[in-house]
Symmetry: C2
Subunit: 198 residues, 2 copies
C-alpha cells in the first residue's frame, strides 16, 4: 500500500514519460499543480485531451493543423514549386520568420534505425507522391546537420532525384555572431569549402 | 494568425505555468506528446483531470488522500501523541522511510510574506485545533532549515507552546557522508553546538 493516492502516482508516472522529466521532477510538477493558484491541473488536462482529438496533419505538407490543408498550403500566393523539407513542425515556424516564400514538407522525424525509425515511420511516402506530379522544381533539404539529418538528406536525394530537377541542402558554415577562435574544425572546413565571392 | 493551431498554443501555455518549464521546454514537451508512442496526451490529460476532483486533504493531518482520513491517521498502531510537522506531503513519504511511528501534520507551505503566504494560507489553524485537545504530547517541527522554515518553526513554537508540553526541532549538523572540509560554516557551528557524548 502506498502512502500517496493512486491518482497522484498515476499522474507522476505519466509526467515521467516526458523527455527530461525524472521521478523527482514529476513529483514536483504534480504537487505544484495541486497547490498552485496559477497552474491548473484541470486546464492542462483538458487542453491535452483536446490536443490529439482535434489535430491532424495537413494533407499536403504534413504540418499540424485543424483543417484539411494548413494555412500555408492554402495560400495561393506562395511559390508551390519550391518545397523545404524539415524534421519537425516547429522548424516551419522558424523558417517563417525568414523571407522564405515557398512551401514545406514536415517529415516528423529523421531516419534513425537505432530508434526504429525507417522511411515508413516518416512522412517520406507523402513527399514522394507530392514530387511525382512534377510540380515541385526545387527541394531544399533542411534536416539538422547531424548524423541522422545528413543520412536522411542523402536518402531523400537518392530517392527523389529522378522526380525533382533541383535538390539542394542548406548551407553549412559559421553562424552569425560566431567567434572563429572557438568554432569547431568541421564547421571551419565547411565554411572554407563553401566560401563565396565578396 | 498563428502558424500553430490554437490547441497547441493553449497546451504550450499551460505547460509554461509549471516550475522550471520555459517556452522552449513547453514546446518540446507538447510536440513530444504529439509524436511519442509512449507518452500519451490523453492519458496525462485524463489523470490530471481526475487529480483535483478526487483528491482531498486528510481531516486530521492534511496529507493528500482520497478518504476522510489518510492511511496513517486511520492506523491505530501509530503513536498519536507525537506529531511531526512538515511543509509538504512528499516529506511525509520521506519520513516514512525512517522508523518514525508517530503521526504527521502537513502545513502545505511555509510562512513567506513575500509570496503572500501568512498563517491563514497554511494549515496552521488545523494544527492549533488538533493540539487544543491535549492529546498531542510532543510536536516535532521539521520545516526546512532555511529562512522561511526557521521563521515558521519559531512562529509555531510561540503559538503552540501553551498547548503542547514538548516542542522540538530536527537536529542540525553534518549530513551522513559529508566532507567536513567542504561543509559551510553555519552547519559546522551547529554541528559543534549540538555535539553529543560518544
Amino acid at each position: 500500500m502506498s502512502l500517496l493516492p493512486p491518482q497522484i502516482l498515476k499522474t507522476i508516472e505519466e509526467f515521467q514519460k516526458l523527455p527530461g522529466i525524472g521521478p523527482k521532477s514529476a513529483e514536483r510538477l504534480v504537487f505544484h499543480l495541486l497547490r498552485s493558484s496559477r497552474a491548473d491541473p484541470a486546464a492542462l488536462g483538458q487542453s491535452l485531451l483536446t490536443l490529439k482529438n482535434q489535430l491532424r496533419f495537413c494533407s499536403t505538407c504534413q504540418m499540424v493543423t485543424t483543417e484539411e490543408r494548413c494555412v500555408l498550403c492554402a495560400d495561393a500566393s506562395r511559390d508551390a514549386s519550391t518545397v523545404l523539407v524539415v524534421e519537425e513542425p516547429l522548424e516551419v515556424v522558424a523558417f517563417e520568420k525568414t523571407s522564405y516564400k515557398g512551401l514545406y514538407h514536415v517529415l516528423h522525424g529523421v531516419l534513425s534505425p537505432i530508434d526504429g525509425l525507417g522511411p515508413e515511420q516518416l512522412k517520406i511516402r507523402e513527399l514522394v507522391d507530392r514530387c511525382s506530379s512534377g510540380a515541385v522544381r526545387e527541394l531544399i533539404i533542411a534536416t539538422d546537420p547531424d548524423v541522422e539529418g545528413e543520412t536522411t538528406a542523402v536518402y531523400l536525394r537518392d530517392r527523389l532525384s529522378p522526380l525533382v530537377p533541383t535538390i539542394t541542402r542548406l548551407a553549412h558554415g559559421l553562424p552569425m555572431g560566431a567567434d572563429i577562435e572557438f568554432a569547431d574544425q568541421i564547421t571551419l572546413r565547411q565554411a572554407l569549402e563553401g566560401r563565396r565571392n565578396l
